[in-house]
């Protein structure tokens, strides 16, 4: 039977609204740097798609946030939202950590964000990266000091 209920492996609509509110406080846009915030439609859609194995823990985090807010977080004034989230971070670091992880792993792979950091928006393979050899003569004092392992014979 066709159902309008979300699949069990997705956040419900109200859960999504709480998460959207949380991430808006976490990573806002920056006009100065020309950066989107974490509620940018493409980034937020990526976050929702990529929750994966963290879904149960994320649900617990969102539930705790709403319990601390005395109702849906997004219905509070912004300053009160900030206060609730500040308390969450100080008293439930593990739950805040889940919210942070699901957010930043999508935010920091967005093309616009990577480009602004000076990165190429591509996977590491197959082009790889350059790393300078470094100055091997720096090892000279280590050589001069001589053997440091213990003899056993």
């Amino acid at each position: 039977m066709f159902s309008l209920l979300p699949a069990v492996d997705e956040l419900t609509g109200p859960e999504q609204e709480t998460l959207r509110c949380v991430v808006s406080h976490m990573i806002p846009p920056s006009e100065e740097l020309g950066l989107p915030g974490a509620t940018d439609p493409a980034i937020f859609a990526d976050i929702l798609r990529s929750i994966g194995r963290d879904l149960p823990a994320l649900r617990r985090s969102l539930q705790t946030v709403n319990e601390m807010a005395g109702g849906p977080l997004n219905t509070l004034p912004s300053s009160e939202q900030s206060a609730v989230l500040g308390t969450l971070r100080s008293s439930h670091a593990d739950l805040a950590g889940i919210l942070e992880t699901v957010t930043v792993r999508c935010y920091y792979r967005d093309d616009r964000v990577m480009t602004s950091l000076g990165m190429e928006a591509r996977p590491p393979f197959p082009l790889g990266f350059e790393v300078p050899q470094g100055d091997w003569s720096l090892l000279e004092p280590v050589r001069l000091r001589g053997k440091i392992y213990r003899d056993v014979d």
């Binding site: 194995r53 990266f129 790393v131 720096l138 050589r143």
Partner: protein, 533 residues
């Protein structure tokens, strides 16, 4: 249906199983390896995808409990501060290791004689030296000859680059007058035996898409398969069977369809790591061996050693290598050998590491309070990204019987085989070593000019090195296998993985695990006509 009898059955296709299979191939015996996982596919590795950092917490997570894939078995980690890291498949842990490839030091084999702790090994550095060298050739090790922390050893190809990070930390070590040296790395820096050179993908710990890092699926196994060793994947062994003479007759396993089968064999070699091996031995309890196979000493599963890690990182005003390049570039053995003034016996090594990708920079920065929510987030991120460097200390863990692997009475894997349960606590000596390494690490970073220094001790998700749970020794009352890897109680059963380590040393164990496996294979070949006497 009964399988045909093989001469040698190897269980596990990781670091040690690959080495022993390759070495025994020249005997022309019929050799079969059963591996619970599959061949890794380099095109699937995270570095080939845009979500390369996210994948490291999903299917390419180092935690088998997090991955929960078909190849994985669950591990009860409730009673240990250090959680298990592994990879189950052809190549085993070498698929996910960083390729950092130190040897044990000569003193590591004589800890009772030199320092009055634990036990001496029944073999020594000199015995293993030719097998270390052979293994370096087979794996393809990049290094710089002349490290004063080791007896002389040959360099096969140039070392991996120091980069800006190695230079920065090396200068600080010079200022302090402390030892440092470019790491021996099982990473090709030039074309080597059909493998392409490293292109600095930075993701050695999640499989090398370039094939430059030496995991045994690209080193030993292609050679062994060409030599007609049979490697059967997705086959999980549950227990070893024995006969009335107390000899192993083969192993029961679940095939890819989940069907239980029996594989008869004349010789059985365990290569399942320090948790997988005792798990199978304990699960092989029978009327003849009521406490588990090869367990007359009662030591199967006991004396579990990790290497407790402390991680110390700092941030710099100028850009460093960031996410580019093999993450580990340099080691230090300054605090490796015992110095009574330090307040602990034995010692630790440091491995110095480059920076992190943007996602990991953000996760760590948020967790450490260096990266705020809201206003200031972007500016703070730019002070952290590509500006971090640091180290981990790898502390020698002494064997204690209370640290152990047992069978969980309730938890089972997908085939109904009891899961291992880990019981572990950090000993006092190790704790003092961890504390010392954090203090010295902070000193190094401050000398290098770092700000915003953070540390984690112990590092929880760092149970990579699984050792000691079927220890080697000459006394059957105090060891599980003899000085050439044969079980004291079962004369055609051998163990070649990290289980047989007597002590852990303070360095990553893969080079030694493989050298010991090659040594045992050599002993089997040398003694082939009176192997069971």
């Amino acid at each position: 249906m009964r399988n045909e009898t093989v001469d040698v059955l190897i269980i596990g296709a990781g670091a040690s199983g690959a080495a022993v299979a390759w070495s025994l191939a020249d005997t022309k015996m019929r050799i079969l390896c059963l591996e619970q996982g599959d061949w890794p596919r380099s095109s699937d590795f995270p570095s080939a995808s845009r979500d390369w950092e996210a994948q490291q917490s999903e299917d390419y997570s180092i935690s088998p409990n997090r991955r929960g894939l078909a190849a994985d078995y669950p591990i009860n980690e409730d009673d240990t501060p250090i959680k298990i890291a592994n990879y189950n498949g052809v190549g085993g842990g070498t698929v996910f290791y960083a390729g950092h490839f130190p040897r044990l030091h000569p003193s590591d084999f004589r800890v009772r004689t030199l320092d009055g702790v634990a036990d001496d090994w029944p073999i020594d550095y000199r015995t293993l030296e030719p097998f270390y060298a052979l293994n370096d050739q087979m794996m393809g090790v990049a290094s710089l000859a002349g490290d004063p922390a080791y007896p002389p050893k040959e360099a096969i190809m140039p070392p991996i680059p120091l980069g800006l990070t190695g230079e920065k930390l090396g200068k600080a070590m010079n200022d302090l007058g402390w030892h440092w040296w470019p790491s021996d790395s099982a990473i090709t820096t030039q074309e080597y035996q059909g493998r392409a050179p490293c292109i600095n993908l930075g993701l050695c710990g999640a499989g090398c898409a370039q094939g430059a890092k030496a995991s045994t699926d690209v080193t030993y196994w292609p050679e062994a398969v060409r030599a007609r060793i049979e490697l059967r994947t997705r086959c999980r062994v549950s227990r070893i069977e024995t006969n009335s003479d107390g000899m192993a007759t083969g192993a029961y396993y679940f095939d890819p369809a989940g069907q239980e089968r029996f594989q008869p064999a004349e010789i059985v070699i365990m290569a399942c790591n320090g948790i997988g091996t005792p798990r199978i031995l304990l699960n092989s309890a029978s009327e003849r061996f009521p406490t588990g196979l090869a367990n007359a000493s009662g030591l199967v599963g006991k004396n579990l050693m990790f290497h407790p890690y402390a991680q110390i990182r700092g941030h710099f005003d100028e850009p460093l290598d960031g996410y580019r390049g093999p993450p580990i570039c340099v080691w230090s053995m300054e605090f490796y050998e015992t110095d009574p003034a330090r307040g602990f016996k034995r010692g630790y090594s440091y491995q110095f590491s480059r920076g992190l990708g943007p996602v990991r920079t953000a996760i760590n920065g948020l967790a450490d309070g260096l990266l705020p929510w809201g206003e200031g987030h972007h500016a703070a991120f730019r002070r952290l990204f590509c500006r971090s460097a640091g180290m981990v200390s790898i502390c020698e863990d002494l064997p204690e019987e209370i640290n152990r692997v047992t069978l969980d009475p309730h938890l089972k894997d997908a085939n109904g085989i009891p899961a291992p349960k880990i019981t572990y606590r950090i000993g006092e000596n190790t704790q003092r070593m961890l504390d010392h390494s954090v203090a010295r690490g902070i000193e190094i970073l401050k000398t290098a000019g770092a700000r915003d220094i953070t540390y984690r001790s112990p590092l929880p998700y760092a149970g990579w090195h699984l050792m000691g749970t079927a220890r080697m020794g000459k006394d059957p009352r105090r060891s599980v296998v003899n000085e050439w890897g044969r079980a004291h109680d079962v004369k055609n059963l051998f163990i070649v993985d990290g289980s047989i380590f007597v002590t852990s040393g303070g360095v990553n164990p893969t080079a030694t695990i493989q050298a010991v496996a090659l040594y045992i294979a050599d002993q089997i070949k040398t003694r082939i006509y009176d192997l069971f006497s």
